[in-house]
């Protein structure tokens, strides 16, 4: 009876599962439920608040709910983007944690058919000046992000880093990905068509990341060594093939639906596809290509092995799908079919080992009302003063020497900011990265390689930026969140771009504690009000809760990513003074 508690479910939740099932769940079923009803997949503590964010806007193409959101960027093109956290995996194994964070967010982008064109990252560590552990985390997380993005050939064009005490035990690694798609080619993840075939393609399934979503992403982190085997390992080469293969499958119109495997692996991807399509799925776990032959059914269902996708295919197209996968040297296997049962049924050979109601899994996870209470006393120690003097020269030197103001060159030089030939403003050239779009007026296409005509006219472009400021949110969650949106918009304005849509990653502590609930609800209110004031829709995002170490919670850290448009890349602003004799002006409200 305590099995469900080990898996992170409460007694109340367990009873609810028994009620929905009409019986006690077996081992496979309980494993599946525990993941789908984890904080990470079920948004138990955040769903009601997230519903308050504005999701409408004139340029909105796809709002929250799909793998990534998208906005219209003109010329029949949409820009898909999303930010996601990989905080706890990065705290355990920073290189692989950060790398697989990038891999995961990229799959979200190409799962809707968009070609990823840019990555940004937002990082928080403890004081690197004092903490060897924070230096280690910084070095390895940055190397991991670079390794994945560079190897897969997608430009990492911007980001931000802060070092502050409250992140010492619980670092933050958030990655944002941006992609482009011809708007009428967007694909959804809803499974459809009873009798259609479910094909799993990509890497083999191993034991890595078993239970990662419930254990690593949905509970407070402690030094428990037992959690270590849940680390996932990424292979950007496999993902590069998976990316090209997926886009070719879509380009040839061979797929009914496509979904990536992220947290909770096959479990969440199949359940979500079935729920969205209002159908059922039968899956045969023994057909799944394995890295270790002795894996049990529940392990296959919940493994978080990276670089895998799931698609739904009409039976007569299966051969064509397998052929495209073979061309890209990607494993592909038909592992199931679409049914009209609205149940997710798991077969181990002939035996039915799991029979789960899809709606209950995906849509009926209980949500909890938060009990926010403003703390009476400050939650965080006063940050140490950088220097105690009135001497302006000394203050300037101390500022210049502080890790939070130092040049980020050592970091962004480890990222390929140029691949793709779109980067008009790379790191340190401007406050936001500027990326050229294909220009149909110049003969350029997104999907087909066409030589540009070389015409000299305005070059359509987008600008992207990511920002957050935990210390200010800690001081005043509402204003701090508003300021994050303002700062990010100001970054876009500095290159001449106007925001079109926003994504966010809400990094907070344990929401079951009233003061964290207060931070969380006030920050979301601020985020929503700022977006409404600007008329920008929130197109999607991610929530990372339980970011706490032994010494307390992190600063509440909502991170926002904006995509904006600018009419002509040739006019984008830059940071440096250009030529002698130019006038310097200061503009303010």
């Amino acid at each position: 009876m305590s099995k469900h508690r080990e898996l992170g479910l409460t007694d109340f939740e367990y009873d609810l599962i028994v009620e929905k099932m009409g019986r006690e769940p077996n081992e496979v079923e309980l494993a599946v439920f525990s993941l789908m009803w984890s904080e990470h997949c079920g948004y138990k503590h955040s769903r009601p608040l997230l519903k308050t964010l504005p999701t409408e806007g004139p340029r909105l193409v796809m709002g929250p709910g799909e793998n990534a959101g998208a906005v219209d960027v003109g010329n029949g093109l949409s820009c898909a983007f999303k930010v996601e956290s990989h905080n706890h995996p990065s705290a355990v194994e920073p290189f692989q944690g950060a790398a697989t964070g990038v891999g995961g967010i990229l799959r979200d982008i190409f799962a809707i058919g968009a070609r990823p064109i840019a990555i940004l990252d937002s990082l928080r560590f403890g004081e690197v000046g004092e903490s060897a552990r924070s230096r280690y985390l910084l070095e390895h997380a940055v190397a991991g992000i670079g390794h994945y993005g560079n190897s897969i050939g997608i430009a990492t064009v911007g980001g931000e880093i802060y070092f502050e005490g409250p992140y010492e035990q619980n670092c933050l690694v958030n990655a944002m990905a941006v992609g482009l798609i011809e708007t009428d080619e967007l694909i959804k993840s809803a499974a459809a068509g009873v009798g259609n075939v479910v094909v799993l393609f990509g890497a083999r399934t191993g034991r890595d990341g078993i239970g990662g979503a419930s254990v690593l992403a949905s509970a407070e982190l402690d030094a428990d060594m037992e959690k270590r085997p849940t680390v996932q390992i990424g292979d950007p080469f496999e993902e590069k093939k998976l990316l090209e293969c997926s886009l070719e499958l879509l380009d040839r119109k061979l797929l009914v639906a496509l979904q990536d495997l992220g947290a909770a692996g096959l479990t969440s991807s199949s359940a979500e596809m079935a729920a969205k399509g209002e159908v059922g799925l039968d899956l045969h776990v023994r057909r799944v290509p394995l890295r270790e032959q002795d894996m049990e059914a529940f392990e296959i269902m919940i493994s978080e092995s990276q670089e895998r996708m799931l698609c739904v295919v009409e039976p007569e197209r299966v051969q064509a799908v397998l052929a495209v996968c073979a061309k890209w040297e990607v494993n592909a296997t038909a592992i199931g079919e679409v049914t009209d049962t609205r149940r997710l049924r798991v077969f181990d050979g002939e035996e039915l080992v799991g029979d789960l109601p899809v709606e209950a899994l995906v849509d009926e996870c209980p949500t909890y009302e938060l009990e926010p209470a403003e703390p009476a006393t400050p939650l965080y120690p006063v940050p140490p003063k950088l220097i105690d003097t009135d001497d302006a020269g000394e203050i300037l030197l101390a500022l210049l020497g502080s890790a939070n103001l130092a040049s980020r060159k050592g970091v962004f030089e480890q990222y390929d900011a140029l691949v793709g030939s779109r980067t008009v403003r790379r790191p340190e050239q401007a406050d936001a990265a500027v990326l050229m779009l294909p220009d149909p007026a110049n003969g350029e296409r997104l999907t087909a390689l066409a030589p540009p005509k070389g015409e000299d006219g305005p070059k359509p472009a987008i600008a992207v930026s990511i920002d957050g400021n935990g210390r200010r949110v800690a001081a005043d969650p509402y204003r701090g969140a508003v300021e994050a949106v303002l700062e990010c918009s100001a970054n876009l304005a500095c290159v001449g771009a106007e925001p079109l849509g926003l994504t966010n990653c809400l990094n907070f502590g344990n929401p079951e504690k009233p003061h964290i609930a207060w931070q969380f609800s006030r920050a979301i209110a601020g985020l929503g009000d700022a977006c409404r004031a600007f008329g920008i829709p929130v197109v999607g995002g991610n929530v990372s809760l339980y970011n706490e170490g032994a010494e307390g919670p992190i600063y509440p850290t909502p991170v926002v990513g904006l995509v904006g448009e600018l009419p002509d890349a040739r006019m984008s602003g830059r940071l440096g003074f250009e030529s002698a004799g130019d006038v310097i002006a200061i503009v303010s409200a």
Partner: protein, 221 residues
């Protein structure tokens, strides 16, 4: 002039090379598993991480079917340019001397560098002048050019050192500041920096275009 751009699993800068070559001629993608160069006049092996750089950079890609054709093509005087991972592949294939080792920093580094043209008579540098400085980005983890000293002396004597990092720009620790080399005949050139990412001032520099323009000016065989 028709350029063929090879695409291996894991190639990343193929589209960039295609677009760069398209500015001075026609371009076409060549698939690694094909035994066919589609009648192109010049072959570009672009950058990226063919086969994930697994085992050793360029080691696996060099055995792909298309590389057999490229080797024949090169030995018959065909124009071949290897950029970054393409340079590594050409070295592994023995079409160029030397090998590329991990940067002394052991880090991936993406940086705009100045290159000095040492030999302006190869098929890929004839539009440049000796001593001319080109601003081109470099981005790699394994770009430290190495060859034993006698080989380096011979390369020098034969004018096979085509491009050098300008003073202060050799960030990867390459022997004798070598950024790019050619075969004896000058039809095959490999370099670590990325000329295809320097074809438009809007994205930083247009100096790299000269390499493609050089090849385009070579009369078709």
């Amino acid at each position: 002039m028709k350029f063929g751009v090879v695409r291996f699993p894991g190639t990343c800068d193929d589209v960039d090379a295609f677009l760069a070559a398209s500015r001075v001629g026609e371009a076409e993608i060549l698939w690694h598993a094909d035994h066919d160069l589609k009648g192109v006049d010049a072959v570009i092996i672009p950058g990226g991480f063919s086969y994930g750089d697994h085992l050793r950079v360029g080691a696996v890609a060099r055995f792909s079917p298309v590389m057999r054709e490229v080797e024949l093509f090169a030995r018959n005087g065909g124009l071949v340019l290897g950029i970054c991972n393409g340079f590594q592949v050409l070295c592994e294939a023995g079409l160029l001397s030397g090998a590329l080792l991990p940067n002394t920093s052991l880090r991936f580094t993406c940086r705009q560098v100045d290159l000095e043209v040492v030999n302006a008579s190869t098929s890929w540098t004839n539009a440049c002048e000796v001593g001319e400085v080109l601003s081109v980005p470099a981005k790699h983890t394994t770009g430290r050019y190495y060859a034993p000293d006698p080989v380096l002396d011979e390369l020098e004597a034969n004018g096979q050192i085509v491009l050098k990092y300008a003073a202060g720009h050799n960030f990867n620790g390459s022997a004798r500041d070598i950024a790019g080399v050619s075969n004896k005949a000058g039809n095959v050139v490999g370099l670590m920096p990325h000329p295809e990412h320097a074809v438009d001032v809007l994205t930083g520099s247009a100096d790299g275009l000269k390499l493609f323009a050089s090849a385009a000016a070579v009369p078709a065989a």
